[in-house]
Symmetry: C2
Subunit: 361 residues, 2 copies
């Protein structure tokens, strides 16, 4: 076996915890040495190896700069990977420095890949300079094989025509429930606010459901995918903020401070959503919040759309499933489809670990 | 950039040709050095690099032993990969020697991974000894992300419960056509022999359609997948020959020497197949030839089954699509699904190239 890969892990929340459990699996543990671990308040570093239990008694405050200083010498003698299990912009902003120092980055954090083009280009450039890699399979579809599949499509000379999908587990659940393909009777269907309320109770939404309904999460994922397509490399200068996004947060509710306030006020808009659902049903259609990347038209768009009740986006989705459809020169007229749970700590950690395993050996 | 990876390619047929075109792409070419190339009749070796055009004037006959002798010293100073784009058992049998010599193997050739367990175990063992890897993403589903997805599921500590799918592009086309989910009228439907005849004309079947209808291709793919699942590592001692396979070659037709003879005699069995289709249709079902791996029951089985006309295997498949459904502890009750063209030179070559790219850098 080759020398163990040194791994520095930032973030010990839900995904971070699941990732650390995977890292401790008997079949994986020998390949890695956990050299750094940090929560939002404390950190521990040990070039010879440390463990989660040591973090509780650590006294150092986490510092990105200090971490870079510590990992840089390790990267001159062996492989070092920073695993960013946060969703912090500050950590994302530091990727270029780690990459230039020869430290690879693996992360489910969407911030760096979906923000302004400048940071993204710095990351691409820094990988060349540092002979390190930045991998983010879990940024789209959690553990589903999405990002690598698209990279392989592009790298092997295929041409992407269109990418279309249900990219938010939250919005998937909400519309699978609110607008099912074959309702027994429309009077049995839940109202929109009721659907969102239940989704929140089940833990499918952010504490403030507006953070899901505004479409920004879908826009970030679309940005990540579109930047892999060479023809669209420069189409989104401001990243997710450049995506044509339809927000499902009703006018007047943008300012709600809490999720509770938002849900209370959302009730007043139930009739609007019921009308959309009814109009769709009359045409034999359902509502789905989808992301679309149309390469020829250079359109990257997130919006609520109608799909025939027989379409896979209508019939085949359940729970918080994501579905991604890649239409390419090779995969056409019938696309390559990937579908399954697109959120959850264990499957997200699997996406992170899959990337880390690419860097071994 | 790191030192180019030395690549030896056996096979310049449909897949081999598509692979070589991908290898020559401007973005990929700098990462590789083509050191060896062979057809079934001639070969060329040049440690400094060669190209397809040089093969025509080559005079050496291909020899696996000679190739091993030539690649072994290269593997002591850099990365070397054997790309086996044949379906030859003789090449497959030699993988352990290459792997022990430190030469990685990448292939769409199912023979080594789906034959007797002894060879498979030798390959697994040789990877450890030689610090080399044997990768076969394109052995199942061509370019679809199937093998790596299953490996990641297993490696990250998930438990596979059931794998189910339409694994043969040929049998997918035949039953999508013969038994569609919503036929306008059963009298419009083609007979079984007619369906197979058209499939052959379109190039979807082997020259002798019996080679597809006997289910052996599906059995080989099931063997490859089941061996990735730790609980089933030893369940198929004879490989694909140990799989419980339902052959669709009617009794009495096993001895047909040519595809033409087979098709002529198949007509006499049209009534049997029409009856199966009718019985299924009466229950609102369609016929699909599927492979199933049931981990708890230790069953690996390929057979013609009935599926509800609303099931994804009925509604969502078209052309020669493959579909794979992975039900695991994490991906349940709703499975992870991968679907798309499961045959074709370009997509198969993409699967091969995707594996080769894993070995770079």
């Amino acid at each position: 076996m080759s020398q163990p890969v040194s791994v520095a892990v930032i973030g010990v929340g839900l995904v971070g915890g699941a990732f650390l459990r995977q890292l401790a699996l008997p079949a994986l543990a020998p390949h890695f040495r956990l050299v750094y671990l940090s929560s939002s308040t404390r950190c521990i570093f040990n070039a010879a190896g440390t463990q989660l239990s040591a973090l509780a008694s650590a006294t150092d405050a986490p510092s990105i700069d200090a971490l870079l200083t510590r990992l840089t010498p390790l990267a001159t003698t062996g492989k070092v990977v920073l695993v960013d299990n946060t969703s912090a912009q500050a950590v994302a902003n530091a990727y270029p420095h780690f990459l230039k120092a020869g430290v690879s980055v693996v992360t489910p954090n969407k911030k760096a890949f979906s923000g302004e083009l400048g940071l993204y280009k710095e990351i691409v450039q820094a990988q060349t300079e540092g002979k390190s890699r930045a991998l983010g399979e879990a940024t789209v579809g959690a553990g589903l094989p999405v990002v690598q599949t698209l990279k392989d499509i592009v790298a092997t000379g295929d041409k992407v025509i269109r990418i279309e999908g249900v990219l938010s587990g939250t919005l998937s659940y909400i519309f699978n429930t609110f607008s099912p393909p074959s309702p027994s009777s429309s009077s049995d269907l839940p109202s929109f606010s009721q659907t969102v309320r239940v989704a929140r109770e089940k833990g499918y939404t952010e504490p403030h459901p507006g953070d899901d309904l505004d479409g920004s999460d879908v826009a970030r994922k679309l940005t990540i995918l579109s930047r892999i397509v060479p023809e669209l490399a420069d189409v989104l200068p401001q990243g997710y903020a450049s995506v044509d996004v339809q927000s499902l947060v009703p006018k007047g509710l943008e300012g709600c401070k809490t999720g509770d306030e938002f849900l209370e006020k959302l009730v007043a808009h139930d009739a609007e959503y019921a009308k959309l659902r009814e109009e769709a049903a009359k045409e034999g259609m359902v509502l789905r919040y989808v992301g679309v990347i149309d390469v020829e038209r250079r359109v990257v768009k997130a919006s609520l759309e109608k799909y025939p009740a027989t379409h896979p986006f209508a019939t085949s989705l359940g729970g918080s499933d994501n579905i991604l459809s890649f239409t390419t020169q090779r995969y056409s007229p019938r696309p390559l489809l990937v579908q399954g749970a697109g959120a959850g700590a264990d499957v997200t950690a699997m996406g992170v670990m899959g990337d880390l395993l690419k860097l071994v050996g």
